[in-house]
Symmetry: C2
Subunit: 388 residues, 2 copies
């Protein structure tokens, strides 16, 4: 039900140890106490890992449990990142470091959505989010939104779907799989709707920085008059290309951070200390390397779409091309047949049915997951299968 | 409700994409397809991390998404580990790699426990597990069990607590915080109870390998006639001392692994590729270094308890000492006052109330979290506060 900026009932009575209550007193009285209260090892592992010796020396705590909300240096670096990259004043206590965007989204849902609550999911959308809503006992309300043919009345349809049990609205721009980047007016309009109805906005900004042709991907909260109901989710897996580290973060109003942290503690305890230490410099140097990655992706997009030469959704961001294969489903071919035909031609593509009930005839292809040559060659094969 | 080896209703209708269904066909037809179906980057990150160059070259996929159940090499190494260390035949498809034991336990609960189900938690117990049960909508039934004064009728009280809604039984040996190591007869008796009542057994073996005075910490499933209802949970955070990597694993019967993986995918997607590559050699070399760590902990235990010189629970394993402070609560001192007095003496200890409703007057101290000298000094201070 509409409750923003209040959190879910689920969290009541969870966590909150005696220790937590004593913590301010601890800090005040005893600046350097002997810490026997935690189960951790003071000695380094008996087996030495292949890390640079300078790094190992400089980041002495890489093998120990971190603060569950993230190590202080990374929270500060990410706050600076939002300030310098997005022009958005951010304090470290507005940052929660997570084990990837998946863990950020699942923790946010656990903290904000109670069983029976509805979550509006504009589609097409990343499939795991819908699964997470169901896992938390919530109900998914899909609204076709991002693709060209439904753009005209998308906002009205979102607002018409809000009911007495609606707790949250999921947004994702740049959008996986449609590759759409919402413009500033649309972002603002959506936030106004959420504000009007006291909804939480879970804004999946995994593809932040991955927009083309000069488009901006500013955080959604930038467009909000009441940013305390917007949780923006980021990842180190996309433009940073550290998918293998499983690291992400949430930027939100400071009061909601401890609630999401409580949910996080009960799913993974904390993000990896080592991974957090490793991304510290890449975050600090973001503006030096990110434009190059984005430009490279844009040129991959041009190569892929130029070779494919078929009508796809305008590719404004992400590293996906999304196309409706319905026009190619003549002569008794169904969408699943097409996927198998692509496969027989040596190319794996993702079936649209994964991205929403209204997208069964669509196909998603990633133009970054293989070498440039392989992607170009695959585009040629896909063209032959679909248009041939 | 009793359902083992069936999983929870929660998972129905979650996951299971068209793609998953096509996967066997994919493997059969196209041995090396071009993979455009996933959102991942073929190119390495634009920012170089401080990893050993040989490692980086040898483990080419460290920066990409792994299989959600774990990388093949690590699953094989862990299967071998159970065979060589525990004498327990294990296949790689019985292993699920997780983001720490916390993530293993929370994923197991999501997969096995539906809202309203009861989970029996023998106490004293690690507090986050009880929080996770509540987070998943389950109901915690505490049964005092591990400490000396309740050992005589513990098994009968566990069995008497089983009812129509009981779905699972949580076990943890070596036990945090009591440091008890269950003997073989008790392990077998508990599993017989679980088997008789069709309960899932979630066996938290985080402190595997950390038992003293020649005690064994064999996996609980070794004592089971029907091991398909036992999930054993392990971590790289304790004897391995890689808490900062946030990595663990589950060993269970092969049929339940995909269900827990589905829950895992919806909380963190997968464990870190880099962390998995990093622990591969430490796992393979386990027998070469683990006895030394265990012996070192045993000598730390002797130092700590010898200096403390107060009646504590027999310290059979883990790195905790657990003691009932009730005898020291004379003259209007309550247990929380004691914690604060310890703090004022410069030593943080964990309050027993975190470990179960029956342990409010207890105190837990870890003898591994600080240097040997600091631990010895802290033991002296604690003695002064408690007995002084």
């Amino acid at each position: 039900m509409p409750r923003a900026p209040q959190t879910a009932a689920r969290l009541e009575g969870i966590g909150g140890s005696v220790f937590e209550r004593l913590l301010p007193r601890i800090r005040e009285r005893t600046p350097r106490p002997t810490r026997l209260h935690i189960g951790d090892a003071a000695d380094p592992p008996a087996y030495e890992l292949p890390l640079d010796p300078d790094f190992r020396e400089d980041r002495a705590h890489w093998f120990q449990y971190p603060n569950t909300a993230g190590i202080g240096r990374l929270r500060r670096a990410l706050a600076d990142h939002h300030r310098s990259v997005h022009g958005l004043d951010t304090e470290p206590d507005q940052i929660l470091v997570t084990s990837g965007a998946t863990n950020a989204l699942s923790s946010a849902l656990q903290a904000l959505v109670d069983p029976g609550d509805e979550v509006i999911v504009p589609t097409p959308s990343w499939p795991f989010f819908r699964g997470m809503v169901r896992m938390s006992g919530g109900v998914v309300r899909e609204v076709p939104f991002y693709t060209t043919e439904v753009r005209t009345d998308g906002l009205q349809r979102i607002e018409a779907t809000i009911g007495e049990r609606t707790a949250a609205l999921y947004l994702n721009t740049p959008n996986n799989p449609s590759s759409r980047v919402l413009d500033a007016a649309t972002r603002r309009a959506i936030l106004e709707i959420a504000e009007r109805h006291d909804l939480w906005v879970i804004s999946d900004e995994a593809y932040d920085g991955m927009a083309y042709d000069g488009r901006a991907t500013h955080p959604l909260s930038l467009y909000s008059a009441r940013p305390e109901n917007v949780l923006s989710v980021y990842t180190f897996s996309k433009i940073f290309r550290f998918a293998g580290l499983r690291l992400g973060w949430i930027r939100a109003a400071a009061p909601v951070i401890p609630s999401v942290d409580r949910a996080l503690v009960h799913s993974v305890y904390s993000a990896s200390s080592l991974a957090q230490e490793l991304v510290l410099d890449p975050v600090r140097q973001f503006t030096r390397w990110s434009a190059g990655v984005s430009a490279d992706l844009q040129s991959r997009r041009d190569l892929f779409l130029g070779t494919l030469d078929l009508p796809v959704e305008p590719c404004e961001g992400t590293y996906f091309a999304f196309l409706d294969a319905a026009p190619f489903c003549r002569r008794g071919r169904n969408p699943e047949d097409l996927i198998v035909e692509c496969l027989d031609a040596g190319v794996l593509v993702a079936p649209g049915s994964d991205f929403g009930t209204d997208y069964g005839s669509w196909i998603r292809a990633c133009f970054a997951a293989e070498s440039r040559d392989a992607v170009e060659d695959a585009a040629r094969r896909l063209r032959r299968v679909l248009a041939g």
